[in-house]
């Protein structure tokens, strides 16, 4: 159980706002921090890791105080034992993949663990390569593998898939899901990608201007509850074209472009790039095994 009750001033493009969080995160949760850039998602992640210090408040993890502004307790990142996957992966260029993993070991005699993790992540074949020889997806796997070396209490993922193409992203989403299931590590993911949230997480904090405005399951946070749709897909608006009295909206959903018709009132608040929910209840989706 993680209890966070903190405030921290954030300097954003729109001036200074206060990041305020007062939440409990349960053991084994896969939580998403979702919100626009500058809303405080990454800062919250960094505060949990000890890389930034809140102005006031407390952080307790499994009964252990990590931060308490009144008692002047602030555990260093070294002592928190969290796994942090950085957006740029932060692999050490002077070490091979194997050495990157070995470096994370506190006790060098336990090098068997390196082989174990290399195998779980299916990166044995990369073991002697240097980070700069790896592709983006491979780097990401190595970065996750390295965090697992210390048996972390928590896995903090700062937009770990944002630099990858969508096919690689889907594959790595599955892998993150499998790791979460296998190790049962409480995980917190920062992302802008709604489909990622649906695939991975059981809980979402929607953050806006430093405040957590919603806290629920992905389907509750992202679905309009008035729709009793039988089937829903999240997509992104690619274009809006007028055709007689109707509008044709091209939507990118699950890597496919779907054309949807809409009337004036549907497209009134719609802009290119918006995330939308496609839902249908009049038709029965047809199941076909492929």
């Amino acid at each position: 159980m993680i209890h966070i009750n903190i405030t921290k001033p954030l300097h954003t493009a729109d001036g200074t706002i206060d990041l305020r969080v007062n939440k409990e995160i349960h053991k084994g949760d896969f939580l998403t921090l979702f919100g626009k850039s500058g809303s405080g998602k990454t800062t919250l992640l960094r505060i949990i890791a000890g890389l930034e210090t809140p102005k006031s408040g407390t952080i307790t993890v499994d009964g252990e105080v990590w931060f308490d502004s009144e008692k002047k307790i602030n555990l260093s990142p070294q002592k928190r034992n969290v796994g942090f996957v950085f957006q740029d992966y932060a692999l050490f260029a002077n070490m091979s993949v194997r050495q990157n993993l070995e470096f994370a070991l506190a006790d060098k005699s336990k090098s068997k663990k390196v082989d174990e993790i290399l195998e779980i992540m299916e990166i044995q074949n990369l073991s002697n390569m240097k980070p700069q020889e790896l592709s983006g997806g491979q780097k990401q796997r190595v970065a996750v593998a390295r965090t697992l070396m210390t048996n972390p209490k928590m896995l903090l993922l700062d937009e770990p898939l944002s630099a990858l193409d969508s096919a690689m992203r889907l594959k790595l989403q599955d892998e993150l899901h499998a790791i979460h299931k296998r190790f049962g590590i409480t995980s917190i993911l920062v992302t802008h990608d709604i489909s990622e949230v649906f695939r991975l997480c059981n809980r979402v904090f929607k953050i806006s201007l430093g405040e957590i405005t919603e806290d629920s399951t992905p389907s509750k946070v992202f679905s309009n509850q008035n729709i009793s749709g039988k089937f829903k897909i999240v997509g992104e608006v690619l274009s809006i074209k007028k055709s007689d009295i109707l509008y044709i909206v091209e939507v990118l959903a699950n890597n496919e472009i779907v054309k949807v018709t809409g009337v004036q009132s549907d497209i009134k608040n719609l802009n290119i790039g918006d995330k939308i929910l496609l839902s249908s209840k009049a038709f029965n989706p047809i199941l076909t095994k492929i």
Partner: protein, 226 residues
């Protein structure tokens, strides 16, 4: 080749080697500090470190001469308490060279550290590694080209220094007479062939040093960014 020539060249390289090694120990912590700090004193420290770049060497030499002179407070204190006389001595030359070559060591190291992403250091901290372990195993190995450049430029610059050395070292054979002084000395006494011997040696060695740096740096870059 006469013994005085050899003695002078050896002294020159001894001075440059000692200066470079000592400056590495000063330059790494100072460069690291400057690359990380956001203290309001940072511009002041940076300005002091860079002063030798813009000051005529004779200015620095003049003030060092005053400071180290046994007739003045600091010099007298060193003389009575440590029996250390920094004027017209090899130890004084080392100290003056360290001050004068400081920016040549600190600047490349500082910019090397600055180009490393913040996440590298943070990743190491999160993995439970101390500041010192992070510096030694992660940060320093990743700025190897900067360390090499800094050391070699410092070395070469110390070999070539004239003004400071003349002001506080003078021209004592085997103690403070380095190659650049010797050239001046030989020209003064119209001994052009010996001056040429010194000058040409410095010319060739400087070129060889720079060639070495650029060649090694290129191959380092290649192996790291294949």
């Amino acid at each position: 080749m006469d013994t005085e020539f050899l003695q002078t060249m050896l002294l020159t390289f001894k001075l440059a080697s000692i200066t470079t090694v000592l400056l590495l120990f000063i330059g790494i912590p100072l460069g690291y500090f400057l690359s990380q700090t956001s203290s309001r004193f940072k511009p002041i420290i940076e300005a002091i470190v860079s002063m030798p770049l813009v000051l005529p060497p004779s200015v620095l030499g003049f003030y060092l001469l005053l400071a180290f002179s046994p007739k003045n407070g600091f010099g007298a204190w060193l003389d009575t308490n440590f029996d250390l006389r920094l004027v017209f001595s090899f130890e004084g030359l080392v100290l003056a060279s360290i001050l004068f070559s400081l920016p040549f060591m600190v600047h490349p190291i500082q910019s090397g550290f600055s180009t490393l992403g913040k996440s590298l250091k943070e990743a190491s901290f999160v993995l439970g590694k101390s500041r010192l372990q992070t510096l030694w195993f992660v940060l320093l190995p990743n700025i190897r080209p900067s360390l090499l450049t800094a050391s070699v430029i410092t070395f070469a610059h110390t070999v070539g220094e004239f003004g400071v050395v003349l002001m506080i070292g003078g021209n004592i054979a085997g103690e403070t007479k380095v190659a650049s002084i010797a050239i001046y000395d030989e020209v003064e006494s119209l001994n052009y062939s010996l001056a040429n011997q010194y000058a040409f040696t410095l010319f060739v060695i400087s070129f060889a040093i720079l060639l070495f740096v650029y060649a090694v740096n290129k191959s380092m870059m290649r192996s790291e960014f294949r």
